[in-house]
């Protein structure tokens, strides 16, 4: 009998998250971010958080909300982009930031979830990223040793999910969500549509429920677009 992962509210989903924890948050820019959980983290008012997320949203949406509130002490990301508050806190030294190549960030999360403590990659060799890391040549090409990332909680956002925690993502809203789901000690999935077990095609699940500890249907999704770009019809 399938293992039910359903919780009844975002409050229940975030129970146990506390100050000083390391959190992973899925999404790329504002695409595929766990909107409801982020709002709950803001409401909880916890702080000293280390957040692992490719970006930090924008100034007033997504992870940017937690940055504005100074709830984050450290970000592990690949891109700051146009988030002015992120850049300001980093340059002023208020916020500790580990910038990591995007592919290494994705792979380090996957490694954390897959029980692989470290792997070699060519990305970042000869740059700041390689400082203090072991370098080794393979086929005459230098690689650096990168370690796995895990977190106390991982917050991911999917399109559809079933009560057993199986997830399907929509289009490019998938991004970091599957790897972070693997790497969280407790993984919380919020979904646009929660369906009974058996409704999803077992061959078409992106994240198997084994990686998800809690699932709920988010109350509302703004799904803000960061760069609305269109062409003439």
């Amino acid at each position: 009998m399938a293992i039910s992962k359903v919780v009844n509210s975002v409050e229940e989903a975030c129970a146990g998250v506390s100050s000083g924890m390391t959190l992973m948050l899925g999404g790329f820019g504002l695409c595929g971010i766990p909107e409801n959980c982020i709002e709950e983290l803001v409401r909880l008012g916890i702080n000293d958080l280390t957040c692992i997320s490719n970006n930090a949203g924008v100034d007033n949406f997504g992870l940017g909300r937690l940055l504005q509130n100074r709830q984050i002490v450290k970000m592990i990301s690949s891109y700051v982009g146009e988030n002015e508050e992120f850049e300001r806190q980093m340059l002023s030294g208020e916020l500790e930031v580990d910038l990591i190549p995007q592919g290494s960030l994705a792979e380090r999360c996957r490694a954390g979830g897959a029980g692989i403590p470290a792997f070699f990659t060519p990305a970042g060799y000869g740059t700041e990223v390689a400082e203090g890391k072991e370098v080794r040549d393979f086929d005459g090409k230098p690689h650096i040793l990168e370690s796995a990332l895990t977190s106390d909680f991982a917050f991911v956002k999917a399109w559809k999910g079933d009560t057993a925690g199986n997830l399907i993502f929509k289009a490019t809203a998938r991004n970091f969500n599957p790897m972070m789901a693997m790497a969280g000690k407790i993984t919380v999935a919020e979904v646009e549509e929660l369906v009974p077990v058996g409704e999803l095609d077992p061959g078409q699940i992106h994240t198997p429920g084994i990686f998800v500890q809690r699932i709920f249907q988010g109350e509302k999704y703004e799904k803000r677009i960061e760069q609305r770009t269109v062409r003439n019809a």
Partner: protein, 217 residues
């Protein structure tokens, strides 16, 4: 002298039938507009799509379908969506044949810097470090000089590096240059640009052949 679109048009000529191509943010994104009809080319965006199409028609944009520049896009027939680990497996595993990206500085040894100005600006490297460390063909698309008029083609990069010894070709508003044997090699001039102008705008060692053809674009 080329404008941004001209640079993109010239770079489009580097693309070969059957190639998967990753286009960075800015000028590189424009390259997609200049691929000949019927050429079999697929664009990868490292946030998780292969077979990226043009921007959507107004009203049809989808918040869940964006490129690495966070712009709304469309998907071509045959497109695929995937997660970030798979995306960089494609890149790191050298399944993408061409990477086009912008730069703040490029050096005569093929180093590139494009993610940070210490104390002033930090955008982050995003996927650029993975791309430059692995791509077989990297073309840098950029202006020859910065806003202050200083050359971006240097004997050595002054900014924090994105990758070392990886760039083989640079296309600027003034010229196409190859990087080999520790020097820039002038390959083509932009229309109406003289060799002297290029020499003046290039800080790193520049090898100029006897004949420097003007670009065909």
């Amino acid at each position: 002298m080329l404008d941004k679109n001209g640079i993109a048009k010239r770079i489009a000529r580097e693309v070969r039938d059957g190639w998967y191509v990753n286009l960075g943010i800015g000028i590189p994104t424009l390259v997609a507009n200049h691929i000949p009809d019927g050429m079999e080319v697929e664009f990868q965006s490292e946030n998780g799509i292969l077979g990226m199409g043009p921007f959507p028609i107004d009203g049809e944009e989808d918040a869940d379908l964006i490129n690495a520049g966070k712009q709304t896009i469309t998907a071509m027939p045959g497109a695929v969506y995937f997660d970030s680990a798979t995306s960089f497996a494609m890149i790191r595993g050298r399944h993408v044949q061409l990477t086009v990206l912008g730069a703040m500085e490029v050096s005569t040894s093929g180093d590139i810097a494009n993610w940070k100005i210490p104390g002033k600006m930090v955008k982050g490297m995003g996927g650029a470090m993975d791309l430059v460390a692995s791509a077989e063909n990297i073309v840098v698309a950029m202006m020859h000089t910065n806003r202050a008029g200083a050359s971006k083609l240097l004997p050595a990069c002054t900014l924090p590096l994105t990758g070392v010894g990886c760039v083989k070709r640079v296309v600027t508003n003034l010229a196409v240059l190859d990087i080999k044997d520790g020097a820039f090699h002038l390959v083509e001039r932009a229309p109406g640009v003289s060799v002297e102008e290029i020499v003046a705008a290039t800080a790193g060692e520049l090898v100029v052949p006897d004949v420097v053809p003007e670009m065909e674009i």
